[in-house]
Symmetry: C2
Subunit: 127 residues, 2 copies
């Protein structure tokens, strides 16, 4: 795995509507894998969580994360990113989840539960 930021020739995948399959380590020390929607700010992968999400709880205990994303236009082409949860904060005004939902569905997030609090997780890319 090359260290450092994501090479420019893969930015199209990061701007695509491919799903990111997120690998985290569970409380039992074993791997877990889930597909998620994601955003890309040109440097970080941004994930939307609710506080109770298992993935988020895993990352609070062990911030190491890997994501694999397949090019929707060519399933033989993919990118793997390894990094860590750098920070998480309140998703003010649901800006992130609305942006992500708009990317994938064309419309803001419409599946929120009453009282749902969304968090913005910032993933630092290490390799």
């Amino acid at each position: 795995m090359p260290k450092g930021p994501v090479p420019a020739q893969y930015h199209d995948i990061l701007n695509s509507t491919g799903l990111a399959h997120v690998a985290t380590i569970g409380p039992d020390g074993r791997p877990q894998s889930n597909p998620v929607w994601f955003a890309w700010d040109g440097e970080h992968v941004l994930l939307s969580f609710t506080e109770s999400k298992k993935k988020y709880q895993n990352l609070l205990k062990n911030p190491a994360i890997a994501l694999s994303i397949t090019d929707p236009a060519n399933p033989l082409r993919y990118i793997e990113i390894r990094g860590k949860l750098e920070s998480s904060e309140l998703d003010e005004g649901n800006a992130l989840i609305d942006g992500i939902a708009t990317k994938y569905t064309g419309a803001p997030w419409a599946w929120g539960q009453p009282g749902e609090v969304r968090l913005k997780g910032v993933i630092a890319v290490e390799s």
Copy 2:
């Protein structure tokens, strides 16, 4: 995660040409994630490796594995399988890799390197 075998209503995903995103633990104790072709024998997930493959080397040291597979017909539907590498053996006559390649491309495996030895990895489903 429900324990035990995969419920019948998800068998269509296991028989589909969706990719399995495989999470393993690397030598540094951190997660890795890669999309792979897979087969399903009705009970186990079957993966094809070469001996030098990082994923395979990871599993020899730590057999814990998770796989997430999205329904190609509906990206909001997916299955996560957690389990372990139960055994690996020589893929006699390339039977597994030819079967997998035929599933995904309609034709037997045609990308082998000269002298390539393929292994058949049997993943036991735990939850």
